[in-house]
Subunit: 377 residues, 2 copies
């Protein structure tokens, strides 16, 4: 047990409980069930602020005034168009490719056409954060249109990220409740402390590598089923109940009787309520009514009430976001990429914080292998 | 200070001194100046084993017998050709792109054409490790030929990674000393414990994301100047002395007098000798003689002797690898990509070890921002 030093501290497997750094971006209190971004409660933000305002908050530590918000809005809308060669890469991508692998490759390729990619100044990094936030929705919508044999819809030059993305994806403007609910989903997923993708991004950024490298790595981390994929599993369950034409309550009770796990309940961090779930539940009701499709809403309500009654477990954000995206007719393999399209604001905020007072992030490993072997040659 | 728990351990900034996991791949003793891969001393391996043998050792924990080595060799040579669309991406890449950004994008794109990309079985991961090790040299050589207006050289179907890469890069076969020295460079850079790029890869892999995602992130980490770029700085120094036509000894003494740092001396981990440096110094002598170009060797010897005498600091592996690559006429912006072409063996070994007994890697952050703010809307 030498590994770079003579001291031998205990191994903190998975770094559980170890505090790696200080942050002013976000705090989670799992016991109280609260989540704050830059001092503001997530419920306040999701009800009263747009994703653009929240993005500004995460990047700057304060909410924008009207002029600052208008300026950010102009920068974001001006940067939505992809470089021609990144479009070309999307055109060449096989239609059955995993959208997260497409996003990872597209973001990595954006760097090749950004003259500021390796400019480490604070100003250039802020501009790159704007560009990434603006371009990720275009990458996703372009790929989804193409794989469905449809022409990509050019980005709108004057509308919110939510409105623009839904329009590019579906080729028609979303309704008010759709735009507002999807915007709230972006707010709710924008940031969540030092999760594995954000941590991966900060480890990469701490080598003084560039923002594209760090975000490419973060996307790779989010792709993992232990991280970004929970609402896909929820949607699979809902779709299965729907296809079987089963009674949702009976279906859930049967699963529970067989000691099987119901996806979307409880949370590793939140011991009581996931504060994001209640907001989405409320919005899902309005959205379903606007869309004239209450199938997923009705099913979700029955399932969440049954699991709460039987197991005392509350539905989490993933449980309701599945129904929201399902009601918005978004394909389930875009759920995690959309998570990334939102989390880009938190990832880039963490990188800018990291670089403000950088330090290499590098724990040690304890060697448990053989010693003293010789090739004998 | 709540962040997911009520306890409040001390912050371990940069995770310095924290043991994150156990490994049987590599051990470094910075005080004694020793480095072992799987129990074997690095000097024994660099003198007596090929990069292919060392790669097998890192992946399997034992050196291969003749049959196992022949099998690995066949797999590696069979996988060298790039999917047509990855070639197409390289053709479209601007010639002034950073080769590390090109490598990151190329590796990410390889996943789009690998039907096993999301197959998490041990066997599929081993095959992906083989593919990545085989294809990275082709990506680098293809891009370098193209940016120089030259036709790419198709990969050889029966030669070592070292011989094949130098042939693809230069369009002619390397001499014996060139092949052997470059092969030793690959061995010396293949693995180095839980450095920042390897750690980033393991953090990504620990979400159960795929090998391409983890390696793409690791490449992004290696790209950082605090990690992979030291020998480029050494080469800049050598080239500057050469261009100025300065006397190397006088140049170094002048720098030291002005309290300026000489690149390539001392090491964060190795407190005495970097065990990799001595091997390279010896090989550089032979290589320079074979190439009939002792310019970088002569300069390196004068500088290393001067710094040792004046400051008591030994030259490290980066110091001599710069002269080796310079003597091999490799452009300096390929030094870090070549580091990655070697480290791919260690990165993939760490991923396979991680997945053998996986656990999410997720430390905590301490919140130091404001609380209790309200939007007032």
């Amino acid at each position: 047990m030498s590994q770079e030093s003579n001291s031998a501290p205990a191994t903190a497997k998975g770094l559980e409980g170890v505090i790696a750094l200080e942050t002013a971006i976000c705090d989670i209190d799992g016991v109280k069930g609260t989540l704050i971004y830059g001092g503001y409660d997530i419920q306040d933000l999701a009800k009263n602020c747009t994703f653009e305002e929240v993005t500004y908050l995460l990047w700057n530590g304060v909410l924008p005034d009207a002029i600052q918000l208008a300026h950010l809005h102009r920068s974001l809308t001006a940067e939505r168009i992809l470089p021609p060669m990144v479009k070309e890469i999307l055109e060449m991508t096989p239609e059955d490719a995993d959208p997260m692998a497409v996003l990872r490759t597209g973001v990595s390729a954006l760097a090749l056409f950004d003259g500021e990619a390796d400019d480490a100044s604070t100003e250039a990094n802020y501009r790159k954060a704007v560009r990434l936030t603006a371009q990720i929705p275009t990458i996703l919508a372009h790929f989804d249109r193409r794989r469905n044999g449809l022409d990509p819809v050019p980005p709108l030059t004057d509308s919110s990220i939510s409105h623009n993305f839904l329009t590019m994806l579906h080729g028609k403007e979303p309704g008010d409740a759709a735009e507002k609910t999807f915007d709230a989903c972006l707010v709710l997923h924008a940031e969540h402390g030092l999760n594995a993708s954000t941590f991966a991004g900060r480890v990469i950024g701490a080598t003084l590598s560039d923002m594209y490298s760090a975000i490419t790595g973060a996307i790779g981390g989010l792709k993992g089923p232990l991280h970004g994929g929970a609402n896909i599993e929820v949607m699979k369950m809902l779709a299965q109940i729907d296809q079987e034409g089963a009674d949702p309550k009976a279906w859930v009770l049967n699963k529970l009787q067989n000691k099987e796990r119901i996806m979307g309940f409880g949370h590793r961090v939140y011991k009581t309520l996931d504060p994001r779930a209640a907001i989405l539940q409320e919005m899902l009701a309005k959205l379903s009514s606007e869309r004239g499709n209450t199938k997923w809403y009705d099913m979700s309500m029955v399932i969440s009430e049954t699991v709460l009654k039987e197991k005392g477990l509350h539905a989490n954000v993933d449980f309701f976001s599945a129904s929201v995206y399902g009601t918005l007719e978004i394909p389930s393999d875009l759920f995690t990429p959309i998570f990334g399209m939102s989390r880009i604001s938190g990832w880039t905020a963490h990188l800018m914080e990291q670089w403000h007072d950088n330090r290499l992030i590098r724990p040690r490993a304890a060697y448990i292998g053989p010693r003293g072997l010789k090739t004998g040659r």
